[in-house]
Symmetry: C2
Subunit: 413 residues, 2 copies
């Protein structure tokens, strides 16, 4: 956990309101850190449904394998999250620790182990000693109560410099339902490093299959459109829990994702996911600039996404932005290497609204001093127009600074 908060952090940290049917508490199991909380437990009322999306890594952590299996049934009674150890690449022992932890939590909450979801973040390759949870989880459950989302966000931080929360409300039928979410990480992994975890909660009554569809659609332009360094964690986990408690207040039971009643809820959910994923980009290790990359005029949205990601993951583009240099030549390079249809002589590029390149050459009208001034801003909008079709997409990233190398270089000398 860093002592310096990212200059891109929100002005204030919101403590989202309680969600009916969700009780939370945090504690200290002493997994790795001293003098801070490192475990979060959530208990859900009966009837809570769950949906999840996970890392696409071919080498996922033991907790990811567990959740992927349990989420198929669509019901949840509990969630345990720890920081300090990711329980990833820990072999058979890793599975045993997951089983032991979910058994402890199930006993404390009063449910089956298979109804407990689990996520771990921190050191990878080190055995997690789940015995440290023995006694701790029981004690936490006893204290669990509605609310405490900001506290929960703090307990799951690793290299994060600030806790990430978001909330929104929506009308579902005549009732107002609430969505609250927490997140940690910056798309990274390793000893002492960050992975992306996010947990979102709502009191809307939505069947598991519909919930899964909403979540899978929702991540496409939010969490899946954010990259820090192109390195995918073995532990990335996003879980959405719906307690259904709003049904008591007249919210209709939703069984299909295409139900028109979901219009407001879908928008609110997208807002929470977009907010949380943007905060992840704002807390990219060593980041000083938030960079929004828009690609338009591509052959398709998918093609635009690939080009935007090629730009967002280019070390040369990212170091140029760190240096406040509107280096559109590197942007051309990143467009060219993406492997997607592009015609050099139709390309135009803008930095913070100023067109610097047009139709395959430097824009003769741009003013270097004006661009230099624009590049000093903490938020950089980089737009590329390909002039080939109607495909458009947008991704978020941050710059690549010496601090990134210092944080991850872990110089031992």
């Amino acid at each position: 956990m860093s002592t310096t908060v990212s200059p891109l952090a929100p002005k204030e940290f919101i403590d989202p309101p309680a969600i009916d049917g969700v009780r939370l508490a945090t504690g200290s199991a002493g997994i790795k850190y001293k003098g801070r909380t490192d475990v979060l437990l959530a208990a859900f009322d009966k009837g809570t449904t769950v949906a999840g999306v996970f890392t696409r890594s071919k080498c996922p952590s033991a907790p990811v394998e567990w959740c992927r299996e349990q989420v198929k049934r669509g019901t949840a009674f509990g969630l345990v999250v720890n920081s300090g150890n990711a329980n990833a690449f820990t072999g058979k022992n890793g599975k045993d620790q997951v089983r032991f932890t979910t058994k402890l939590a199930g006993k404390a909450i009063g449910c089956k182990p298979s109804e407990v979801f689990i996520a771990s973040t921190g050191v990878i390759g080190e055995p997690l000693d789940a015995k440290k949870f023995d006694g701790v989880l029981e004690e936490i459950v006893a204290r669990a109560e509605p609310g405490h989302f900001l506290e929960a966000a703090r307990a799951i931080m690793t290299t994060d410099t600030f806790p990430k929360t978001a909330t929104a409300t929506a009308k579902l039928g005549k009732a107002t339902v609430t969505i609250c979410g927490i997140a940690k990480g910056a798309g990274m992994i390793a000893p002492d490093m960050a992975t992306m975890l996010s947990f979102v909660f709502t009191d809307a009554p939505i069947a598991a299959k519909a919930l899964q569809k909403l979540l899978s659609e929702g991540v496409e332009d939010t969490f899946n459109a954010v990259t820090i360094d192109g390195d995918t964690s073995t532990s990335d986990t996003l879980l959405l829990f719906a307690t259904g408690a709003a049904a008591k207040r007249g919210a209709p039971n939703i069984t299909k994702a295409k139900d028109p009643a979901l219009k407001g809820f879908r928008k609110a959910l997208m807002g929470v996911l977009a907010n949380l994923s943007e905060q992840v980009a704002r807390d990219g290790e060593g980041a000083r600039k938030l960079v929004e990359i828009t690609v338009e005029g591509a052959k398709s949205k998918q093609s635009a996404r690939r080009i935007a990601m090629s730009i967002a993951n280019s070390p040369l583009v990212k170091t140029a932005i760190a240096g406040e240099d509107a280096n559109w030549g590197r942007v051309v390079m990143a467009v060219g290497k993406a492997g997607e249809p592009a015609d050099r002589d139709k390309l135009s590029i803008w930095f913070n609204g100023i067109r610097v390149a047009h139709k395959g050459a430097r824009d003769p009208s741009y003013d270097e001093a004006e661009v230099s001034e624009a590049m000093k801003k903490p938020e950089i909008a980089l737009k590329v127009a390909l002039g080939l079709g109607k495909g458009k997409d947008r991704v978020l990233t941050c710059d690549l600074t010496k601090e990134y190398v210092a944080i991850n270089g872990d110089y031992r000398s």
Copy 2:
């Protein structure tokens, strides 16, 4: 051009022997740099064949488009290379400058413009003023003579910290033929930055089609197996010229790449390409460690290559190596994100011969102190065994240091 030579540079810089049929000279056209040479001209005897491989970028530079077109005919009389300006992303004007330059060179050498090959490296997006070559090329041609390869390697440097040359001989029939090559760059691009250019010359008499096949095969495990930062230049160019002068000394005329007489030549060519491409990795911007990544036990060679490249381009793996940290957790991450078949529980990982992870978990027998000592070496061999099949591959890269960010960040403050 840097004033500090890479700590990974060869102990001495070789000036390769002359190639019969190749005359070289360098000069100063004042494209960008002061007090150094920035243009190289080579003139070839009649009968010289040529082969080329170029960047896969969808936004290639004007010189790349020119060479790709001319190389189809397979004959060459001249080569002009300049540093200081890449003539990339320069629109219609870029094409005009290429035409003007090849016309000047053709007149000076006494050949058609279409028989002159051209390559440019340096600033991109800035118009190249080819008028600066007027008079200069004529003067250079007058001085051109056999040899001068080391001088030529110096003239084409941009951010390179040392000139790159290599040479080898081989038996072709009963004659000895010679191969000499020069290279510059580190797989990068941009204003003031590097691109990869390499020019190889031989006196062997090999028909253009066979020469092209030999070159295309040769780059696969050499230049195509090197990555600095995953960013592909718009100007990458590798040309191979064969004067055929050795025929006078009894070398047989080769018309097919599968001719058994090529056995020794093929090996020698591979050696020169491997040597030059390794020097490119050794001169990676800010590099302090040369990293050889070997992946074995993959489903196929192609799968092994993709996994090796995923590791080689991972900022987290590269920063860990900069920090002399045998962070195998990040290697697992990079294997997992490659999208290729991998089974966590069969993975083993070695750093400089020491096995640190075995069958999906930390190797219980490895000694942290011994590994720390091994990581201090300037050359790091990282081996991953997947345990799935017989596919094997090897790529070269370098570490990612704060100096890389400093060089490319171009802090304007």
